[in-house]
Symmetry: C2
């Protein structure tokens, strides 16, 4: 017998590390980009109505009611929509559908740290495109022959948006698939949905985790060309979304006024925190997401992380060359951000 | 741009076809091996208690409470347990962790028709081992060099158990990983858990869909050697189980008396139906699952399928050489089986 049964690429793999999900309460949790406001009461009511002996039955394998809602809400046909167990599920499907063994996958650096992990699991080759000092990207820096190109708009962990003309030009140049991961796009001024409606090689992925306050339900989707969506359907698990998650998604999309109010509050808080931190001499990267990447003054970011944690405030620090001097701060409620600022002033 | 962006192995793929999930009610649904009894009331109550603003927060990425319950219930250490979004999720993880591009995967024929699909998605090679006429298997018929060997105990769609000495001998011969898919094992006389506790190359997968009446929640798990489980953890989605599914699993395992009563009722119904059909001249394959594979007399099985459907009874027919003469009938309630028998008598 072999010493290890895992594939060599899995043996070598350093897995993705999710942000800490503390099991104690009373912390101010600004570390994993969750929404500080609860999901719509209509979502909780809809799940409650679904909660009966029907749980013994398999869910709809293709999530038709949910996909019909998504199609109507975002302006796509039903065959241009796939729903997944979080947008991470959708990203995994993209790798499995489009990336052959040894093929290459490109994405900016720094970006969502799951991408290199998914590429390695698929035994693909990774190509990273550095942002310039203003967190901008040149379409010519991307290799047209990549099987899959992944970009986040607005980018994580920087919060910076990708201009629409950049995305159009990038899609035009690429011979492979472009995935625009729009987990945070509801907090941004623009999005790539129009591009996904038109281009044959573009998928936009979305998440209910952030702007719909449903991280706990695992709900995401992708929209784009029907042939791309069909390929994702071929590789998805037969029943990838449970009955309650499908119900939650339908209900969330039926209460858009609530959704828009929560998003607007988070955006207002973000702009206020930006001003407050800049006033205190912190560098704040211009963000259109529900978080700010900030460079604190006075002491290394890694030390700020620890000092804040002792004061029961969790933020995120990515120990990579490009991000080592920064903290990523998820928007909490205004009261939580006041507390954060008062701790900052104490520590300052 | 290419005419298709999908990998060649995906382009060629004929996807798995789940059993029909009818959107109309009033049917007797004996086609997808669901449990006819509702989940434990304690499961519904536990989900209801979890249903609040915490849905805005990510779930525990490693499902620790659920895994601890599974470990205690089945006699494993925590690091020998992984939980998944249905046991299909776990099976997908096994392919991605253990099967390199072009490596080969073997399984009996006929068996769970998802296996060749998962193998193709992974661009692996398929080797099928035919059952003999009594639905038995010879360990020597398997190739020791397969990266992954998948067997279902009791097998689907036959319901036939795999003897323990066969499984031990098979595990001993194989140089790769053996997965014993025990989706139906709660309805059987024996199981492979003792083998999974001992052998370095054996994983047992389980599902909450059938014996715990939770197909709608998507819950499964695998137990076995810690190094195998670690490889599965490396490839799983970061948050593969939502908060309510984790809660449902914990609650289901906390009400084992209810579980055992439901299983015992299904087994009694199976034995009664077997006798009734044999009395009517049907061939019934000896089953230890929650379904019977039966060869009806008088007209081709495909015609029975249609005739039953017109009478609002759904069963499953697999149009493959080995199974074309058979129907697979999931155990319903006793009243549903009485109705089925009365329709059979009408049609006979």
């Amino acid at each position: 017998m072999k010493s290890s049964f895992a594939r060599p690429c899995i043996e070598r793999l350093r897995p993705y590390v999710p942000g800490e999900q503390p099991k104690i309460s009373g912390l101010i949790k600004l570390n994993t980009n969750e929404n500080p406001y609860p999901p719509s009461p209509k979502v909780l009511a809809a799940i409650r109505r679904e909660l009966d002996e029907r749980l013994r039955l398999y869910p709809d394998p293709t999530s038709d009611r949910l996909r019909a809602r998504i199609a109507a809400a975002y302006g796509f046909r039903l065959d241009q929509v796939i729903a997944g167990n979080g947008s991470d599920d959708i990203l995994t499907l993209c790798l499995r559908a489009f990336v052959d063994d040894g093929a290459f996958v490109q994405f900016p650096r720094p970006t969502y740290s799951l991408y290199p992990v998914l590429t390695q699991i698929q035994n693909g080759k990774t190509r990273e495109i550095p942002f310039d000092d203003d967190f901008a990207l040149d379409p010519a820096a991307f290799d047209a022959r990549a099987s899959l190109t992944l970009v986040v708009h607005p980018n994580a962990p920087t919060g910076t948006p990708l201009p629409q003309d950049f995305l159009r030009e990038l899609a035009r140049r690429l011979k492979g698939v472009l995935v625009v991961d729009e987990a945070y796009a509801d907090f941004a001024n623009e999005n790539a949905l129009a591009l996904a409606r038109k281009a044959r090689n573009v998928l936009v992925t979305r998440s209910f985790s952030k702007s719909f306050s449903l991280a706990g339900m695992r709900l995401g989707f992708a929209v784009g060309d029907a042939a791309l969506v069909e390929a994702l359907f071929k590789v998805k698990d037969s029943y990838n979304l449970d009955r309650l998650a499908q119900t939650a998604g339908v209900a969330a999309l039926s209460d858009m006024p609530y959704h828009r109010r929560c998003v607007a509050r988070v955006v207002r808080t973000r702009e206020r925190l930006r001003r407050e931190l800049e006033r205190r001499g912190w560098r704040v990267v211009p963000s259109q997401a529900n978080f700010l990447l900030v460079r604190p003054p006075g002491r290394p970011a890694g030390q700020w992380l620890g000092a804040l944690k002792i004061r029961r405030i969790l933020v995120r620090w990515f120990d990579q060359p490009e991000t080592r001097d920064f903290l990523r701060i998820t928007m909490g409620t205004d009261r939580q951000m006041d507390r954060f600022l008062s701790v900052v002033d104490d520590l300052g």
